[in-house]
């Protein structure tokens, strides 16, 4: 259900949003595989905000992942589907304020759509590949993620404790006999 909602949100983001009407929606894979093709172009990019917003004066760095875990993290039960993949985006502090939840172990971050100019090797930012954002909106707010201990793991822990205690006792006994 969560995946379906995510897919719907992405579809809406790609096809129906005025902020991105003039710019093509592009994935991080397409950008990284053909950076020269997209360099200097206006694009729309959608991904999960991860980590944190790093504010540097009048600029904020955001990292947006558009990988298989953007809709559902591994801790929520997402099937493993490869590495994370995303893009770095430079936004103004005013726009960045809209993003409040960042993805990590305990959170699925806000799903964010940004529009702006893609730079394959941004001279302004030390040659980094980035997107200079002119419009941003949160498509789906992030949420806290629970990862409760699993029962079978508790049983395995007890078995490991017994194993360690048994071998520890055997070792102490053998050493005392030397």
């Amino acid at each position: 259900m969560r995946r379906l909602a995510f897919a719907l949100a992405l579809t809406v983001a790609v096809f129906a949003l005025p902020a991105s009407a003039m710019a093509e929606a592009v994935s991080s894979t397409r950008l990284i595989e053909a950076p020269a093709l997209w360099d200097g172009h206006s694009i729309t990019f959608t991904g999960e905000a991860i980590g944190e917003a790093m504010t540097r004066g009048d600029e904020v760095w955001l990292h947006l992942n558009d990988d298989a875990y953007a809709g559902e993290t591994t801790e929520e039960g997402a099937a493993l589907s490869g590495y994370n993949s995303g893009q770095a985006a430079v936004v103004s502090p005013e726009l960045a304020r809209a993003v409040t939840v960042f993805g990590d172990y305990r959170h699925r971050g806000d799903l964010v759509e940004v529009s702006g100019t893609f730079n394959a090797a941004c001279a302004e930012h030390g040659g980094d590949m980035d997107i200079h954002v002119t419009a941003l909106r949160v498509i789906r707010p992030g949420a806290a993620v629970e990862d409760p201990p699993e029962t079978w793991k508790l049983a395995l822990l007890a078995a490991a404790a017994l194993f360690a205690a048994a071998t520890g006792a055997a070792f102490a006994y053998r050493r005392s006999r030397i």
Binding site: I50, T73, L80, A88, A123, D128
Partner: protein, 501 residues
């Protein structure tokens, strides 16, 4: 005639391997505490299981192998190899239990990569991984950099028997800082922990200034230090060090990983007041020359590709990647695939060359090592001088490594043997990549990266790569870190069990 090992020989190996496995279990206390501090209960249970499994195996081996026989040379190297194998198998448990890897082979790949300070990884959804699991990745790489045997010698061994030196040297560290090997191991930790305090503070302050919250700034400062000083290359986020977008942070990383790539004996000489050693040592001189050479090749390749028209980004990106490759660190400030899609084959060849050579012996770094490259170069020059001189002339070469030394045939022979073994391994892992269907340059880049314990990738290494290739990379990382001898000693031991008399 090959002698079959006696039951007592097996007991000595089991006893000391058990002690070292116990040490690996103790290392898991750090991620366990981290998980508890951040209330990551599921992760804490994963490490509880891992720790108890290490204790169970460690105590079990010691209980089964009680002996009074002394540790000898023939045991030392086998113990090192067996310990690294067991550490990899048991250290993989928390990775596997976390649910972030596709199978146990992937989990072992990451542990071997961490312990050998390679930095390639197969863990998936890294950006949602727990702090406890991230701590384990960096503890592995930091401990592996100093050597798990060094840790055991520091904490668990009291004796100074003849075989202890072979435990120490089996991890690829031959220089003794002090006459006693156990004291040498402790001094390695004094140097490393001194750098840990300084480096973590500098990186944490920098991360705070870059906009990270205090707790994350500290964790990132600590982890990036561990990844840098151990020339490991693991980073807390999937973006690697591109995450920080900061020249200052990159310069700090370079200072730390260059320091980590220096011979511990050179560190010790500098710490004890002999600063001239840094300038005179043949390895630091060799490093400067080869760094210049490979930086030039990479720069030409990058200039042809025309990716960075401005001077500062051009220098910043190319120098960072080359020095990261040369120190066998593996930190990157570009996407892995950008090496193929933006940098091109010539720039990649420049970095491959840097990775092949590697950094200093008796350091955390991998590769052939500067001292071997220097000795081969000096031998080559000596032969040219001999050819051009009268037959009666006595030609000899000298070099400075901690003291002035004369180049001897026995030294050249052992250097050539290891160098040929490294070059053969690089060729074989590249061939394995090509046979698996990858382009030659990509196969050479990631294959050399694994075998030289670097960790840079152009995108070949991934969870979907063939299982056979993953296994070959695990073996290559292990062989590269052990510099072949200890691994061959283990195989020889197994062979003598079967065929010995």
């Amino acid at each position: 005639m090959m002698l079959r090992p006696t039951a007592d020989d097996h007991r000595v190996i089991g006893l000391y391997t058990g002690k070292i496995v116990l040490g690996v279990g103790l290392l898991m206390v750090l991620p366990l505490v981290t998980a508890l501090v951040f209330a990551e209960w599921d992760t804490a249970i994963d490490f509880g299981i891992g720790l108890l499994a290490c204790f169970g195996v460690g105590f079990g081996l010691q209980a089964a192998c009680v002996t009074t026989q002394e540790l000898r040379r023939r045991h030392g190297l086998v113990i090192v190899s067996a310990s690294w194998l067991l550490a990899t198998v048991l250290g993989a448990l928390p990775f596997y239990l976390s649910g972030h890897v596709s199978g146990y082979l992937d989990a072992m790949f990451d542990v071997m990569s961490g312990l050998t300070t390679t930095g390639l990884y197969l863990v998936q959804d890294l950006d949602h991984i727990s702090n406890g699991m991230n701590m384990w990745r960096f503890v592995l790489t930091f401990a592996g950099g100093q050597g798990i045997i060094v840790i055991a010698l520091t904490a668990l061994f009291k004796g100074v028997g003849g075989g202890i030196y072979h435990l120490y040297s089996g991890e690829g560290k031959e220089d003794r800082l002090l006459p006693n090997v156990v004291q040498t191991a402790r001094m390695i930790w004094v140097v490393s922990l001194g750098w840990l305090a300084l480096g973590t503070t500098a990186l944490t302050v920098s991360a705070l200034a870059l906009g990270q919250a205090p707790a994350r700034a500290f964790l990132h400062g600590l982890w990036v230090f561990m990844g840098a000083f151990s020339t490991g290359g693991f980073a807390p986020q999937s973006f690697n060090t591109m995450w920080y977008h900061s020249l200052v942070f990159e310069v700090l990383c370079i200072i730390i990983f260059v320091a980590g790539s220096l011979n511990f004996a050179v560190h010790w000489a500098v710490w004890t007041g002999d600063r001239g050693e840094l300038r005179r040592n043949v390895e630091t001189r060799s490093f400067a020359v080869t760094l210049g050479l490979f930086a030039l090749v990479t720069a030409i390749g990058l200039a042809r590709a025309g990716v960075y028209p401005d001077a500062l980004p051009f220098i910043r990106k190319s120098f960072y990647l080359v020095i990261s490759g040369h120190t066998t660190t593996g930190f990157g400030t570009v996407y892995s695939r950008a090496l193929v899609t933006q940098w091109g084959p010539l720039a990649m060849l420049g970095i491959i060359g840097a990775m092949v050579v590697g950094a200093s012996s008796c350091s955390t770094a991998g590769g052939i090592k500067g001292i071997r490259v220097s000795i081969i170069t000096k031998t080559f020059i000596e032969e040219i001088r001999r050819t051009l001189s009268p037959e009666s002339a006595v030609i000899s070469s000298r070099y400075h490594h901690l003291k002035d030394r004369t180049l001897r045939d026995t030294t050249v022979r052992s250097v050539m043997l290891i160098t040929i073994a490294f070059l053969t391994m690089h060729a074989l892992v590249t061939l394995a990549g090509v046979l698996s269907g990858y382009p030659l340059v990509d196969a050479a880049f990631d294959g050399v990266s694994a075998a030289s314990n670097t960790g840079l990738s152009c995108g070949l290494v991934s969870p979907t790569m063939p299982g056979a290739l993953k296994s070959i990379y695990v073996l290559a990382m292990w062989l590269g870190r052990m510099e072949f001898v200890a691994v061959f000693a283990l195989f020889g031991w197994l062979w003598s069990v079967v065929k010995g008399q």
